[in-house]
Amino acid sequence: MTQLTNQTDGHADGIAADISRQLPQGITPEDLVDFYRRMVTIRTIDERIWMMNRQGKVPIAASGQGHEAAQLGSLLAAEKDGNCFFFPYYRDLSIKMGVGLTPTQVMLSFMGKEGDPYSNARQFPLQGADLEHNVIQTSNVVAAQLTQAVGYALACKMQGDDKVIFVYFGDGASSQGETHEAMNFAGVHKLPVIFICENNAYAISVPQRMQMAIGDVANRAEGYGFPGLIVDGLDLLASYEACREAINHARREGPVMLEMKLERLMPHTTDDDDSRYRPKEEIEAVRGRDPVAAFSNFMLEQGYLTEEQQEEIRAQARRAVNEATDAAEAALPPDASNLHNHVYAP
């Protein structure tokens, strides 16, 4: 794996989504349809959740819109590999749902109801652990997952398990001291960790130029003795390919950093108002860089799905999300008596 050398300086205009191409090795049209289906369901539920926040039914949500292709691309690579583990962050709905949660489970979680698979509604939506699907996200403290992921990789290595660990974080998280410490340790011990920086160029309101004096987070990897690459995070297949290579590298030689350049299509969370700090034209411009629209077009243009088929998939997604919403609305929050459970493990 070679190291990225040519820096891109700007952000929103540095990437041209090159979606017309051959299928990467190992990928079948069925895979594409499968992931298209997941992507559409995830986008549908993401939009619904935002709406439900406006209705007062979901207290808080961080939308993953704009991040779907990067996350699903990595998931596709991980599934093809078959022995990976995930430490996502709060914006990684596509990972958390993509691995197999049902829409109802997701809705229960966002509404703070009994049956949230991560924390049974103790935490913000989908935080805690979903071990059944190899996902841990203990908190929404920015960058706290990085050292934990490295420790998990260390443990796997000690136990003779050649798992590859994916850990996800934002451009803002790159500033935290713990991010540095995690990468440094992973470098020293050559652990099979793939550091995925989902660079949407904002940390809430703070733009990248106030976050760091460089254009590419990936350039820091060299300082830890491993390669860093820039990936078009709006393109599912580009993300897949980078991750597939990264998995191979990780297992053979150690860590890799992939900087996925992408966009945050929505405000930071449902509590945020991005018009305070983001120029109107920029907000409009990024809407044109929607990875779901891009993947839809690709699937059409390449003939993997017809418009009718796509509409049917979207309709299915809407039905599933409607059902999930009804089920979650009917569900109860955990009983107050749960308050004192699980402070300590037995």
Partner: protein, 328 residues
């Protein structure tokens, strides 16, 4: 006097201090164009410019450390930690360093930093947006800790904190930000750090509290008065460190009964020190066991409404404890 909210009082205090003293500046995540996640610095970057309203990288250790270093040069930084739950990376610089600067240099150097920390629950913040953190600072010599309950106190105490030559941990209860409103004078005023206030006088029971809980205590006191059960004296600590032991002990000696109320979990909380003080220095005056109504010993407040409600001390729980004390 105009009626203001707590967040308005906080904003005005900083605004006026920045106009008064060029050495004062704010820094933190999203304090610039966003105006802070709670809008405490709304309009500041337009007024004072990006040099004095610094949007920092997402790195709390550096926010505190850089503020501290700037204070060594006579600046008076007001770093903001976005939520109390995220201050842990900053405590090396706050507890480890700032608190010991003056002592550790035998007074050669000091650290006039006011770190503002929105804290507390009851806002569906879940495990990582609800935490009470006062006990950790309360135990740390070298720090001052302020935790106001009203807009008036918030403004007067924040100004004092900014003018203080020591590191001050300024705790703003998030639920009070918009919920609690009250009179705030137009003129410049400061309130002394280290002085509690009797927010409601009474003869029969003393209840000591701070922050949001003061309001629930006042409601509970009214309930008991209406029931004819007891006249409850409500002491609002306002400053946790230095603790105004005089006001607390005086009240306890008068009433003979003490209840302490805080949202923070009970074991090792601020309330335990109040109880320990009374059990030592007002022992002969005590007519009943010292009670505490506090958060339970679970790792902060869960997200689900049911669990959050179960966690939070409230007017009913406080009133019940007061009734028990009255009946003792």
């Amino acid at each position: 006097m105009a009626v203001k909210s707590v967040i308005e009082a906080v904003r005005e205090a900083m605004w006026e201090e920045m106009h008064r003293d060029e050495q004062v500046f704010v820094m933190g995540e999203d304090v610039g164009w966003r105006g802070g996640v709670f809008l405490a610095t709304q309009g500041f970057i337009e007024e004072f410019g990006p040099e004095r309203v610094i949007d920092t990288p997402l790195a709390e250790a550096s926010i505190m450390g850089i503020a501290l270093g700037a204070s060594f040069r006579g600046m008076r930084p007001i770093p903001e930690v976005e939520f109390a739950d995220f201050l842990w990376p900053a405590v090396n610089q706050l507890i480890g360093e700032a608190a010991r600067v003056c002592y550790g240099s035998d007074g050669n150097l000091n650290a006039p930093v006011t770190i503002r920390i929105p804290y507390g629950g009851g806002i569906r913040g879940g495990l990582f947006h609800s935490q009470n953190v006062e006990a950790y600072f309360f135990h740390t010599p070298g720090l001052k800790v302020v935790a106001p309950a009203t807009p008036y106190d918030a403004k007067g105490l924040l100004k004092s904190a900014i003018r203080d030559n020591n590191p001050v941990v300024f705790l703003e209860h998030k639920k009070t930000y918009r919920l609690v409103r009250g009179d705030v004078p137009e003129e410049d005023y400061v309130l002394p750090i280290g002085k509690a206030e009797v927010k409601r006088p009474g003869q029969n029971i003393t209840v000591v509290s701070y922050g949001l809980m003061v309001h629930y205590c006042l409601e509970a006191a009214e309930l008991l008065a209406a029931e004819g059960v007891a006249q409850v004296e409500v002491v609002d600590l306002r400053t946790l460190k230095p603790l105004d032991t005089e006001t607390v002990l005086e009240s306890v000696k008068k009433t003979g009964k003490l209840l302490i109320v805080h949202e923070d979990n009970i074991t090792g909380g601020v309330g335990s020190e109040i109880a320990a003080l009374a059990a030592d220095q007002a022992f002969d005056y005590l007519d009943a066991p010292i009670g505490r109504v506090c958060g339970p010993d679970v790792p902060t407040m869960p997200f689900a409404q049911t669990l959050e409600d179960a966690y939070m001390p409230n007017t009913q729980k406080i009133a019940q404890a007061l009734r028990n004390l009255a009946a003792y």
